[in-house]
Symmetry: C2
Subunit: 126 residues, 2 copies
């Protein structure tokens, strides 16, 4: 997603950017595995939400009122379009665009790649 003409105050607020991505993952019915957000100097935020169904990422350039968001999902249960709509609203983007890329098209017979099975006993390795 190209989120142009966003509210730059939101794009430079670490807590708001993080909450927006985490909420978007939840709205999409994703299973969150890890969260990592970083603020850069003088401004700009990068963050990732790893989900059992792949990931959400964001990089913000408040000086251009612009954020680049990726919503990478797999499996049949997740609703990436819900996350997309939610984030356009959260960042107040007045000129958003979305490009959808099909990944993992391995043969004419395989359908969607399955999501991962989360095992709470497997501790995150960071």
């Amino acid at each position: 997603m190209e989120l142009r003409d966003c509210n730059p105050k939101i794009l430079k607020d670490l807590k708001k950017v993080k909450n927006a991505l985490v909420s978007a993952a939840k709205e999409a019915k994703a299973t969150i595995v890890d969260i990592s957000f970083h603020e850069f100097s003088p401004f700009g935020i990068s963050g990732m939400v790893i989900i059992a169904e792949s990931h959400l990422s964001i990089h913000t350039w408040p000086e251009y009122s612009y954020a680049a968001v990726d919503i990478f999902t797999c499996g049949d249960l997740i609703k990436p379009e819900v996350a997309a709509t939610f984030l356009i609203k959260e960042f107040e983007s007045k000129s958003p665009s979305i490009v959808e890329l099909k990944r993992g098209i391995l043969s004419p017979v395989n359908g969607k790649l399955p999501h991962k099975i989360t095992d709470p006993e497997l501790a995150p390795v960071i």
Copy 2:
């Protein structure tokens, strides 16, 4: 990147996948900010390397000998194509493909978006 026909043994080895992505980031001259890798049950790995110049991500499906890799970069100094070539070799992909997407094309006058300035005093917020 679509890495098809990889060595499935490598795709299910958490340490090897992590090392490959981290090394790819270094080969591309990226500044690493955070690393997060997760192993799923029964197999499959998801991981992210956040860099000052955006991120690298991977999701592996060893059962299909397939990995989806994103190399998201900004700025003029980084060499994403070096990371791409390195990863094709590391995962022994016999049928790789690459799609390049331009991001942050905000106006005819703006060039590449700048990379972030890393500040060692800013502790990662996880």
